[in-house]
Amino acid sequence: MSSERKLMSGNEAVALGAKHAGCALGVGYPGTPSTEILENYSKLEGCKAQWSPNEKVALEVGIGVAFAGTRTIVTMKHVGVNVAADPLFTVAYTGVTGGMVLAVADDPGMASSQNEQDSRNYARAAGVPMFEPADSQEAYDMTKLAFEISERWSQPVFLRLCTRVCHSKTIVAASDSKEVPLADYVRDIKGRVMIPAYARPAHKRLRAKLAEIEEWNCTEGPNPIIGSGNKLGIIANGVAALHAQEADPDARVMKLGMVYPLPIKSILNFIDSVDDCVIIEEGDPFIQTEVQAAGGRVRPRMERYRYGELDVMRVKRIIAGDDTEEPAPPRGKPPQLCDGCPHRNSFQMLKNVGCTISGDIGCYTLSVLPPFETMDTCICMGGSIGIGLGMRHVLPEEQARKIVSVIGDGTFMHSGLTGVAEMVYNRPKYGHVIVILDNGTTAMTGLQEHPGTGRKLDHQPAEKTVSLEGTCEAMGVDKVLIFDPAREMEAFEQATKDALASNDLTVIIARRPCILAIVRDAKIGRGEKVR
């Protein structure tokens, strides 16, 4: 076994686990901290992976693979599940034929996200079983186990990761590999067409399966009890369980590897075996709420520990019942737009023109910080267009004419297209202006490709490129203009002023490649390894 010993990140371990589980296709949408799962998977021999335009489409492609009888891994970050939630809740009813693992990466502490939502709530809400590894070895093992459980009960299964599992490197011993099952379509209309008449029994089947899986989790689930003391018991999941073991080496720790459905009977027995019991979990009081609802006698966690990441020090405080103010960590230097980033010119111009910017998700969100401080709103992927239109509909003319929706090329492909359809369909009285900052890559997450870049996940040429300007023109936008923000700033500024003064629907594309992508592409050109 030691000959296979390797130091790898949680994301690399999930990728290897998927390969060894006989996965036929990896699909997903990039999002920190999940992005490197598919990137690493695609580099493994014989493994095919692709980026979808967004998480909903990725999950749908995955469902198709699993309906066709073979195995798939679908990857996204926590907020991506919001986008994919529509198919998620119903594939839980239909179930799957081939194994389907949905790897979702949460970001407690928000190292690179707009919220710190806890994906365990999705497992419970949709009725999708969820595993949660604590380190890379468990990430590898549980990816394989998740495929097994998925096929045993014909259900999609979540693998919940977090920043500290995705991006930490720990030692992994890998083992055997499975064959990829051949795809073979077998018709099952009542099982897969969710009209109400077929969905009603499907819902009951789902709940029956979840009851069986809960029973399995109690008897065979990956929930080891570590230590033998009977004074303090700790129930913990994921990386928090490792902090807990270190924080109190004398405590008896029940380390939950499957967090939905919880092994409630085993948990209640564990609580009875100790004098005092605390739950150590990052994020929402998920285990606590379930355990208390089942009558479990546990000390409730203080509300302050819901926020941010845990570490050994914070876990010691929870165990000690310390609810005093925590020392604020000194602030480091905030991130900023790179020197030479073409977005800098665009934001300087929009600031000079006096725009109110309905913004979006990407590197350019950093324009909210000094020296620009130009962005007025930022909610979700693609939100810039709808939110800008809403303001245009109701504001008095003078204010309405200042509204500009600013969105990146990757985000536009993800969910800007429906915003354009809305704009053309429900046209504001004074028109609207969308600026697409087209740097030819998904820069924020680490320079991934998308349908508009002309290249696939592995940076090889795509058969066709989806054109930003062609799409906008075809959808009925009045004017579509393109400027280079490094060389044509005067014309760009004048066109922006003209568009704001007119009642037209205008899309202005500010097109210049990301400076980091230029460096990366040169490396690819030299045949060097890129991260």
Binding site: T32, A111, D135, H167, S168, K169, T170, M313, P335
Partner: protein, 158 residues
């Protein structure tokens, strides 16, 4: 519990923090230690503050170094001392660019590896073990310049 050594690296995105953490990680991994390395990237790629934690010993549990627990703090810039010194243990070792003549580096991008040279003076690993890790982690054309940077940081006569 057996002794765990905690090394925290701090700097700005793009300075090569993750690479130098990987090199030390490779040294201690090759010697048969349990190793955990935790880092945060994403937004931090855009020139913001970034830290990376490396823990090693017989058995490592948490991947993160809490306040007051770092045996070593390695900073890529003097401005990173203030926001990170609370991580240091009493008696911990601070390694910083002013420990050697960084102006003599032939390529300023090798500052990260020069700092490893400075760190290596406080650790028990042989120069050959460090060189082996450097050779494993850099493409061939960058090995020589990084080996020189390591020696400069370590204070070896050129």
């Amino acid at each position: 519990m057996s002794k765990v050594t905690n090394v925290k690296f701090a700097g700005l995105g793009g300075q090569g923090i993750l690479t130098c953490t990987d090199i030390l990680g490779r040294v201690v991994f090759d010697l048969g230690n349990d190793v955990k390395k935790a880092e945060v990237h994403g937004m931090s790629q855009r020139g913001g503050s970034i830290t990376s934690d490396l823990r090693f010993g017989d058995k490592v549990l948490s991947p993160m170094i809490s306040a007051g627990q770092a045996d070593y703090l390695v900073v890529l810039g003097e401005d990173q001392i203030e926001p990170n010194q609370h991580f240091m243990k009493a008696g911990g070792v601070l390694v910083k660019p002013s420990d050697f003549d960084a102006g003599r580096l032939s390529n300023k991008r090798t500052l990260n590896v020069a700092l490893l040279g400075a760190l290596s003076k406080h650790m028990e690993f042989s120069v050959e073990q460090w060189m082996s890790a450097i050779r494993q982690l850099f493409p061939e054309r960058l090995v020589d310049v990084n080996e020189k940077a390591f020696h400069l940081g370590r204070g070896d006569s050129a």
